[in-house]
Symmetry: C2
Subunit: 408 residues, 2 copies
């Protein structure tokens, strides 16, 4: 068991970090929302990132990858309102954004991570970025982390921040982060935008390893709508200011750090899922008893991605047949005749299917359970030791509304 505790705070909670977010006027239709953020560390950090596996990639990813080749970063610049994807001048604009951040903060342009989120295929004008950066000059602070969390939002309805503390070799280490999600969210490597900071001392190489491990059971288990974005970027920066012995190999400290990071990511991942476009509920699908972990992952993702299951949860309808259906087409090696399904929420739990067939249950009780804001569908495959948990949300009228005319 790794001992960690969540604390109030966000991306600026670890030692050395400050941030800010302003309204730079990037969003053509909304000139009142924050849309440009800077995150800064007082010293160069070990840094790593994972990105979308979509072949169509934002130019920001090309530039960030180049800048992180040496495993060092000191700042992040990120805008919402425009994805800087499929634009002829995309690379140039992304590089200009790094230069602007570098000038504003007095760091090297090569040590800047850049990211964008918003509409695909519309040129991103650089003037608002220049203006917004000027507004933030000298204004980055610990308190500014919340403004940064706001500035990366698109159709998100709530800002997503997280901070936790964990002990590493006798020193208290802090991990903080912000994330944005909403639509075009689907489990495949990076997923969405998230910037995580820590004051732990970790080598760049171990930081990248830790990032890749922690992302598997957290961000990679989230799906809102099955669409893998072109801009997904999850970046982490470690300042080392906590004073722990630097993690340079996969020792006990490394395992503790990965464990804490996984929980930190899960916390942000659940926030993303709960605030999926149009969502009224967080759905958690926990699977145990699978032949292998891989089978458990396939089953949990298949259920959490099923439009029919998601719509049933919106309607608080205990339609377990759709759960069975999604198990059946998941591609996992499953013995259908052993499957057990329960629905759980703060209002209690109810068994709806055992040995692959329906059992009698109270529709009234089921409705009461499913009307809650956080629902777990617990699936036992009774066929091995494999476990997984996936995160998603219900499918609602508002998802259609938001996406029926997103650009206008």
């Amino acid at each position: 068991m790794i001992k960690y505790k969540f604390i109030d705070g966000g991306v600026t909670s670890p030692l050395g970090f400050s941030a800010q977010g302003v309204c730079a006027g990037i969003k053509p239709s909304n000139k009142t929302k924050r849309d440009l953020a800077l995150i800064y560390c007082e010293k160069p950090c070990a840094a790593a990132a994972v990105y979308t596996k979509n072949l169509v990639k934002s130019s920001t990813i090309t530039v960030t990858k180049k800048h992180l080749q040496n495993g060092v970063a000191q700042a992040v610049i990120v805008n919402s309102g425009n994805a800087n994807t499929c634009n002829a001048d995309g690379i140039e604009i992304a590089q200009r954004m790094c230069e602007i951040a570098a000038e504003t903060l007095g760091v090297k342009a090569e040590d800047v991570i850049v990211a964008s989120t918003g509409v695909i295929g519309q040129p991103l004008p650089i003037e608002p970025v220049i203006k917004g950066a000027a507004m933030m000059k000298g204004k980055l602070s610990k308190d500014g982390g919340t403004n940064a969390a706001e500035a990366i939002m698109t159709t998100d309805t709530v800002k997503k921040e997280m901070a936790m503390q964990v002990e590493l070799g006798g020193k208290t280490v802090t991990i903080g982060g912000i994330a944005k999600g909403s639509g075009m969210i689907h489990i495949n490597m990076g997923t969405m935008l998230s910037f995580v900071t820590t004051d732990a001392a970790v080598s760049a190489e171990m930081l990248e390893e830790a990032l890749r491990e922690a992302v598997e059971d957290s961000y990679n288990m989230v799906s809102v709508d099955g669409d893998t974005s072109t801009n997904d970027t999850l970046a982490i920066m470690a300042s080392g200011l906590a004073g722990n012995n630097e993690i340079r190999e996969k020792n006990e400290d490394y395992r503790v750090f990965v464990g804490a990071l996984t929980e930190a990511f899960k916390s942000l991942a659940k926030k993303l899922a709960a605030d999926g476009e149009g969502a009224t509920k967080l759905l958690i699908c926990s699977v145990d008893g699978a032949k292998t972990k891989k089978d458990a992952v396939m089953v949990s993702k298949s259920i959490i991605c099923s439009s029919l299951f998601k719509a049933a949860m919106y309607g608080a309808d205990a339609n377990w047949g759709r759960v069975l259906c999604a198990i059946g087409y998941s591609g996992a090696d499953v013995d259908v005749s052993k499957v057990k399904v329960e629905f759980e929420s703060p209002k209690g739990e109810i068994l709806v299917c055992e040995n692959g067939a329906g059992v009698e249950f109270s529709e009234e009780k089921a409705k009461e359970i499913l009307l809650e804001k956080e629902i777990t569908v617990a699936v036992s495959l009774n066929d091995g030791e494999g476990k997984a948990e996936a995160y998603g949300c219900d499918l609602t009228y508002d998802y259609v509304k938001i996406n029926g005319d997103y650009r206008t």
Copy 2:
């Protein structure tokens, strides 16, 4: 070029076939809609079927597979309102249905194809089936085909029928069929319920080959919501009464037959897509210039399945960035910098993306094109000779409404 023509008619158009459909009272919530159908041929037919690949399967599939082992069938019994899936007594009930059809029509129970569609996991009472079959005794006719088409509908809003004629070795051969679709529709072998008849003379072995070939470019290219049903069954019966030389090998007649069958299936597949749950539009995604046919299939399916693309089409929003996004995560081998995208409808066509980047276009003209009921998104990958066409529908409020509380 295969010369075929569509004619008015349906499953009873080929020589030898008659059918009927009645309201047997199987649907608990609706006692006025037809829900039980019989299809009959005056002589035993060569027969074949393909089924869902979902591991969770209706008991009707188990029974039908057994009955088709010898490649012979003479009748079909099918109900809507209850899927007969995940029920402890499912096999027994499916067998009873075949016996009831056999007694009613004077055929062998082993020569009956059985299928069900509706809610999963609720026991199917046999009494309404007995009652419904008695109502149909002696009442099967050519005209009854339309009633049969109605009786297999669930949330379908229109009945789906098709008939075509094609010349085989100097003889006119007729192919007819009915289908039901709506939700839980996703490209993976069988897909939905469809019963196709023909008076062509074809051996059972060649009929199965032809069925498997024809399904690939038709039914297997349809997706409404990404959920592969537990009950998908596509069955075909060939009476041989057209008097053509029996097709026993892959000769010229076989190629003509497969070509006509593919077009017949496509016609029903498009009807399924256009009437997907909540749909207001038929979406066709045609892809050319792919490195291989497989790449073209992956790209077209990925686009047609994208919730974001589907919602944009509902909103008549020319959001081509979502098309690029879906191409990028399709898994196909694509050079993004060569991609061209156009939207087409009866109102004209409009180029929105070339060489992987946006081009200027009239939003007004795009809106006019996208407000039509049948939209084609034409994607040229400019990287080879592979082609494919996939069929789907838009994602609307009504999909959510229909599925938020389907069981009540």
